[in-house]
């Protein structure tokens, strides 16, 4: 089965070569345009998520996850994509729970997330620029004061762990469960929007 490895995706694996960096810009253009078209470069629209008035953020995020998840699953099944060579973000249980809580709290305070703040800033919004500068300062200060955070940062490492491996169930079963969960979520958010 593994006779024609060169034809199997991913096609570019060295991430700092010229072709990889050109691809990075092109992928970013698509990413930025999709966020802007959805209206997520607007803080007012994004925070509507947390007041039940405009749940665009949830809809965009979970439709994106569904498409990419189903695409990756089926392309891997058809032998087009070798998932073992796609970089899976590693799992560190406690730092990701703590960091996630902080990032979420910061997002609701700032009105934008790191990605959407770049779109907001690029489209002329002063608040977007303030978020970009704040985010940069936050990363810089955290990096400079990293020594005392290191124990927490490296705690509870679980490596590149996926939900199917963790639960010991088939990949396809988890994919199906996420699809079902997202569809229920879409139904709920449509109802919430209609009643608010």
């Amino acid at each position: 089965m593994e006779t024609d490895v060169a034809m199997t995706a991913p096609w570019i694996e060295e991430v700092s070569t010229g072709p990889a960096l050109v691809t990075a810009v092109a992928i970013g253009v698509g990413f930025g345009a999709a966020l802007e078209r959805a209206g997520l470069g607007s803080a007012r629209k994004l925070v509507g998520q947390f007041y039940g008035t405009d749940l665009t953020m949830f809809k965009v995020m979970f439709s994106a996850i569904l498409v990419a998840m189903l695409g990756a699953f089926w392309l891997a099944r058809l032998g087009v994509l070798d998932l073992a060579r796609v970089e899976l973000p590693g799992t560190w249980l406690v730092p990701q729970l703590v960091g996630g809580g902080l990032l979420g709290a910061g997002m609701a305070t700032a009105g934008l997330c790191p990605g959407t703040s770049c779109v907001a800033a690029a489209t002329g919004r002063g608040d977007g620029l303030a978020v970009v500068l704040g985010m940069f300062t936050g990363v810089l200060v955290t990096g400079l004061a990293f020594a005392p955070l290191r124990t927490l940062y490296e705690a509870t490492a679980r490596g590149p762990l996926t939900v199917p491996v963790w639960l010991g169930v088939p990949y396809g079963a988890v994919v199906l469960a996420v699809v079902a969960l997202a569809l229920v979520g879409f139904w709920v958010v449509e109802r919430v929007e209609r009643t608010s």
């Binding site: 694996e13 966020l35 995020m61 498409v67 973000p89 249980l93 990032l103 305070t109 704040g134 990096g143």
Partner: protein
């Protein structure tokens, strides 16, 4: 004035999300990695640190990794985030949505809004360092690849966001 036309309505969120998912899938297929945002901030911080204080940055346990290999300025995510700004700009321009403004709620004063934007950004910086990613690199990328940490991160981020949003309700209403 850049565009005198009325700004066009935003796209359907499910359609925009599906397009975003297709971009993410293309990233998996072409380069074997997903989207991200916070990593571009980290590599920029490392690059600036290296320019200002090379020895201290090389000795820093967090920033040193960004100086390895091809250095902080040839980072994949840095090029990707430049694309994000370009794509956002082009899309907003084409839709007549380019406006210089500070977006805020009806009762929020401009300096308050900017201070919260900056402060919230700083907290996100701390969170992204600890979690090793943000809503793009962990939420979207790790979420689509079914990473355990990514899903825990997303649950925690939504919880943190709803809690903090309750505090700032008056700013937006």
């Amino acid at each position: 004035m850049i565009g005198r036309v009325e700004p066009r309505a935003y796209a359907d969120p499910y359609l925009a999300g599906a397009c975003l998912g297709a971009v993410l899938l293309a990233a998996f297929v072409i380069t074997g990695r997903g989207l991200g945002a916070s990593g571009a901030f980290a590599t920029t911080a490392a690059g600036v640190g290296h320019a200002v204080a090379p020895e201290a940055t090389a000795a820093n346990p967090y920033f040193a990794r960004y100086l390895a290999g091809d250095g902080p300025w040839r980072d994949w995510l840095l090029f990707e985030i430049a694309g994000v700004a370009l794509g956002g700009l082009a899309s907003a321009w084409a839709a007549g949505r380019l406006r210089g403004a500070v977006e805020r709620g009806p009762r929020a004063r401009r300096p308050t809004r900017l201070a919260l934007a900056f402060g919230g950004g700083m907290v996100m910086g701390l969170g992204a360092v600890l979690a090793r990613g943000c809503t793009s690199g962990l939420g979207l990328t790790g979420g689509a690849l079914l990473g355990v940490g990514a899903w825990l991160f997303m649950i925690a981020a939504f919880a943190g966001a709803y809690l903090a949003a309750a505090v700032w309700r008056r700013m937006w209403r």
